[in-house]
Subunit: 132 residues, 2 copies
């Protein structure tokens, strides 16, 4: 991984070199999307180590902001996310993981397939998924 | 919109009341996903006003961190995002917008359909989309 400060805007935006822009806390948002259905499952954060481990092992690792520690998703729940593809955006400050969720196929601690199980209309939330 | 501080964890996670948890900068990440193809197009940020305007008008509004101002996506590029659905996650700190991009159908200032036009393998990025 290279430091964006040593690169031109064009290198960052269109080049072949991985140079993630971590925020002031050293984190980058990661969107997990189901590799087969396309459903957006969750958004979590990665530090450099989590991103490296994810690329190295093919299993999604995040940084737990509540526990302040590296987090292998599914380590306790069984909801391991096998990474089929990892995409990065133009300014290299967000990644998308295309994943195959293991275990019960879910990802949400509340018990749903996706964390995005409620739709917003005006100021009212309606559940659009059943519990697993 | 309600303040999470006045609510139980269960109300936040499973209830019908919109109570977004903005970060210390007053922002919440918003994932824009194509309503028809499911492709993840971009990640941007909303403040309370941007979220309200989006719900009110049905067109995606964000907070531009670089310009520090409210941003109607597509106002200059024509890449207006008509919002077909807006989802919020369990802890109400991220939203997903299912959008229909107008204009040339793109969203990325570099000229691609999605900002996530590069796939990461080891530390090398490969383009997986053609320019619009």
């Amino acid at each position: 991984m290279r430091d964006q400060k040593t690169m031109s805007r064009n290198e960052i935006e269109e080049g072949p070199v991985l140079a993630p822009k971590f925020d002031e806390k050293g984190l980058i948002p990661a969107v997990a999307q189901h590799a087969e259905t396309g459903e957006v499952l969750m958004l979590a954060y990665m530090n450099a180590e989590a991103l490296e481990k994810t690329l190295e092992t093919g299993q999604a690792h995040y940084w737990s902001r509540s526990r302040q520690s590296l987090w292998l998703k599914g380590e306790t729940s069984g909801q391991i996310q096998e990474v089929a593809d990892l995409l990065i955006d133009c300014d290299q400050d967000t990644v998308v993981l295309k994943v195959l969720p293991q275990g019960d196929g879910g990802c949400c601690h509340v018990g749903y397939r996706s964390c995005f199980f409620r739709s917003v209309k005006d100021s009212t939330l309606t559940k659009v998924q059943d519990r697993l």
